[in-house]
């Protein structure tokens, strides 16, 4: 049994601090909306496809609303107006609105306004019901062919071509993968729109498009049936389109989503406000669709030193957890991220890694947790890198990680080859098989190095949380407290996509999702 290390009071205190920290941010969230939130609303109503120039219709329409300065009423409202004007389909609605002189369109008579909202609400309820139905379909398959026990072996495909991805995902599943992640092309998170259709060219990854999601999930459904073992699919939502991608993932029955409250800010230089607002709506969708989210604290220790910055990971996890809970996500949906990243040239790194992994377990006992492998200190010596990954496999099973991203022996070179995944899966299967139950056999001494290190890290994490409470999250990020990356509140990409809500802002989906919370 891994140690307790810290008292329940101490943990509760950290949670309370996280709540205090997020309070002001939730005020910001309540007051504002973003272009991507509104685009999501339209997508949910079924607005799909691209315009003449290839730009998604939802972008054309929302930009139009924004330019006309009326987006603050909510895209749903204008969608309703379009219906009133006689639009028979979402497409017609777009055409009508892009034509109409929006700015000059005054409000309707109060009762008409009421009816409009009522109609739109009922359409929203139907749209919501359809989403739920799709989710139910996924869950049915999951009960029919259950997953293998945790840690779920998570591997990445990243050919840039969705069809090659399918090929490789199938192979990985047959070799034992439990979760397939299709990582995105390097540039995507900076795009303020979601590409359309099946894509065959990407760099370092494949574009996240609704069609690509569909193609891959369909392929994995077949594989799952064949193997009699459900294989999950995940993708990445962080970036300028967090809510839209969350919606597409939910609609296409993905099982997980990389979704972090701060990753975009720190690692993609996306504006803070934009990110905070977007992450909330996207997480509401994840909560509703029963998607497991993965947070990205592991990234902090690729830029900062994993030993020195260990406490920033813990602090951020409490904050990410709080953002998640406040968006309606339950513990079982929290794939809280951390990783095995301490420089292997140091002494006693296994003790240090165990300490960290056990501490995370201790702080988040009911979350699946998402454990990342060594990456930054991986060597081009594939034999060494493989051995290094094996130790991470051990820590993963030992500390009962729910989701384990498997390290690749070629991490320091290229995105995984088909064989790299096979090799990683075979080793992880062996280590999991060999070490299952180890935790029950051992008691970690509370007076040992592991426990002392855990207490030290937790202590520093609490201090950092206190700093964030007193000076505010924004100041803390400004000081580069997380991942050594400094960002300013008004800096970064996408701030212009943030719009303050009007008093009569209308978003029936948000209403529905917040209602059930």
């Amino acid at each position: 049994m891994s140690g307790l290390f810290v008292s329940d009071e101490q943990v509760a205190r950290a949670r309370q601090l996280a709540r205090d920290i997020t309070n002001p941010i939730f005020e910001l969230i309540a007051k504002n909306t973003t272009v991507s939130v509104e685009r999501t609303v339209l997508r949910w109503f079924g607005v799909d496809g691209t315009g003449s120039m290839g730009a998604p219709l939802v972008n054309l329409m929302v930009d139009r609303l924004k330019d006309a300065g009326v987006m603050n009423k909510g895209a749903a409202y204008w969608y309703g107006r379009a219906l009133k004007m006689g639009a028979k389909s979402p497409l017609e609605a777009v055409e009508l609105l892009t034509a109409a002189p929006l700015a000059s369109l005054g409000p309707l008579a109060p009762d008409e306004e009421e009816r409009l909202r009522a109609d739109v609400r009922s359409e929203a309820r139907h749209a919501m019901a359809e989403l739920k139905a799709r989710v139910a379909k996924r869950n049915a398959l999951k009960t029919k062919v259950p997953m293998s026990p945790a840690p779920h072996k998570y591997v990445i495909v990243a050919t840039g071509n969705i069809h090659d991805d399918v090929d490789q995902a199938r192979a990985a599943a047959e070799a034992g993968a439990d979760v397939i992640a299709v990582i995105r092309s390097t540039a995507q998170s900076l795009l303020d729109y979601v590409p359309q259709g099946a894509t065959t060219e990407g760099f370092g990854g494949t574009y996240a498009t609704q069609e690509n999601f569909r193609i891959m999930r369909e392929a994995l459904d077949v594989v799952s049936e064949k193997l009699g073992r459900y294989v999950e699919l995940t993708n990445y939502s962080s970036g300028l389109c967090m809510p839209e991608i969350a919606f597409m993932a939910a609609w296409e029955r993905l099982d997980m989503l990389l979704n972090d409250a701060m990753y975009g800010i720190l690692f993609r230089d996306i504006n803070m406000r934009r990110t905070f607002i977007d992450q909330y709506f996207s997480r509401r969708i994840c909560a509703t669709a029963g998607l497991i989210i993965n947070t990205g604290e592991d990234n902090y220790i690729t830029t900062a030193d994993a030993y020195d910055a260990a406490h920033t990971v813990i602090a951020s996890q409490f904050i990410n957890e709080c953002f998640a809970h406040r968006a309606g996500l339950e513990d079982w949906q929290l794939g809280i991220g951390h990783s095995y990243e301490i420089d292997p040239h140091r002494d006693e790194t296994l003790l240090l890694e165990l300490s960290q992994a056990m501490l995370v377990r201790r702080c988040f006992p009911n979350a699946p947790l998402k454990y990342m492998p060594p990456t930054k200190h991986k060597e081009t010596d594939i034999f060494f890198s493989h051995a290094y990954d094996v130790m991470a496999d051990l820590v993963a099973i030992w500390t009962k990680q729910g989701i384990q991203l498997l390290g690749m022996m070629t991490e320091a070179m290229h995105t995984p080859l088909l064989a790299d995944r096979y090799v990683a899966l075979k080793a992880a299967s062996y280590v999991h098989r060999a070490a299952r139950g180890l935790d029950e056999e051992l008691t970690v001494r509370e007076d040992g190095k592991i426990a002392r290190r855990a207490r030290e890290v937790f202590g520093k994490a609490t201090e950092l949380l206190e700093e964030c409470t007193s000076d505010g999250m924004i100041a803390a990020i400004g000081r580069g407290r997380f991942g050594d990356v400094k960002r300013a509140e008004t800096g970064g990409k996408g701030l212009d996509g943030v719009v303050e809500k009007a008093p009569d802002y209308f978003n029936p989906f948000l209403e529905l999702m917040e209602a059930k919370a």
Partner: protein, 258 residues
């Protein structure tokens, strides 16, 4: 016959990507790295990425390389002899022997020469067998003798003649400098000398043995890693039936039926 052209698959279809590792007797340096690249290019590889240059010692450098091979293969063109016949289960095989041979089949086996690796031959002959598959000793209609290891070829053959065996099973595990081939050749010579070659069924087995090699060396068959005793039993029975003229020649058993 339609062609089936194949190339290695790394990240994408037909990208030809392969991984190599080797050691060169030079000390680690930029020049050593260049040597590794040139070496690979001389092998006809392209897009050579010398990924790792590891200082194995002062005088040796270990390299790990990823590169593309231009080699294209027509898979359809390859033919690997895999004439398989229906393999009988334990009960049926015993029944077949009883019915068609009418007497117990006698086999002797040993790990010959200076080789002491008995685990392989034991797996085939001893009761216990291998991977849940009974060994020949267990078959009521086989009379199996396991002479153990370090048995001189001449002695093994002499003993086989005494028991006038139907088959001799030779195991060779140590293969350094092809000692297994030399020893096997020596066994065949001896078999010729003692006049059992062509009369008794001579089987060779071991981790580096395959059917082709065994045939080339003058054995009737070869069995490699993971061989199941039942496969061997089946093969022997059909050999015996052939020698008794109760089954047409040529149809030989190899590996699990697919």
């Amino acid at each position: 016959m339609t062609k089936q052209l194949i190339r290695p698959y790394g990240d994408r279809k037909d990208d030809g990507v392969i991984q190599l590792s080797f050691t060169l007797p030079v000390s680690a340096s930029e020049k050593a790295k260049e040597a590794a690249a040139v070496f690979c290019k001389k092998m006809g590889l392209t897009d050579v990425k010398v990924a790792a240059v590891e200082r194995a010692s002062e005088d040796y450098t270990f390299f790990i390389v990823y590169a593309r091979s231009p080699v294209v293969l027509d898979y359809a063109e390859l033919d690997v002899p895999e004439i398989t016949i229906k393999k009988l289960g334990y009960q049926d095989l015993n029944a077949l022997i009883e019915k068609k041979v009418g007497r117990r089949i006698v086999v002797l086996g040993a790990c010959t020469g200076t080789d002491t690796h008995t685990v392989g031959i034991d797996a085939i002959l001893n009761m216990k067998g291998f991977a849940g598959d009974y060994g020949l000793e267990r078959y009521p209609w086989f009379e199996a003798y396991n002479l153990g290891s370090q048995v001189p070829n001449a002695e093994l053959i002499r003993k086989a003649k005494e028991k006038n065996a139907d088959a001799i099973l030779v195991s060779q595990v140590v293969t350094q400098r092809d000692v297994h081939k030399d020893n096997s050749r020596q066994f065949i010579e001896e078999a010729r000398k003692q006049g059992v070659h062509g009369k008794m069924t001579l089987l060779l087995g071991g981790p580096r043995v395959d059917h082709r090699l065994a045939i080339d060396l003058g054995f009737d068959a070869g069995f490699g890693p993971g061989t199941k005793p039942s496969s061997v039993a089946n093969f022997i029975v059909h050999q015996v039936l052939q020698r008794l003229g109760k089954e047409e020649k040529g149809a030989h058993f190899e590996g699990e039926p697919t």
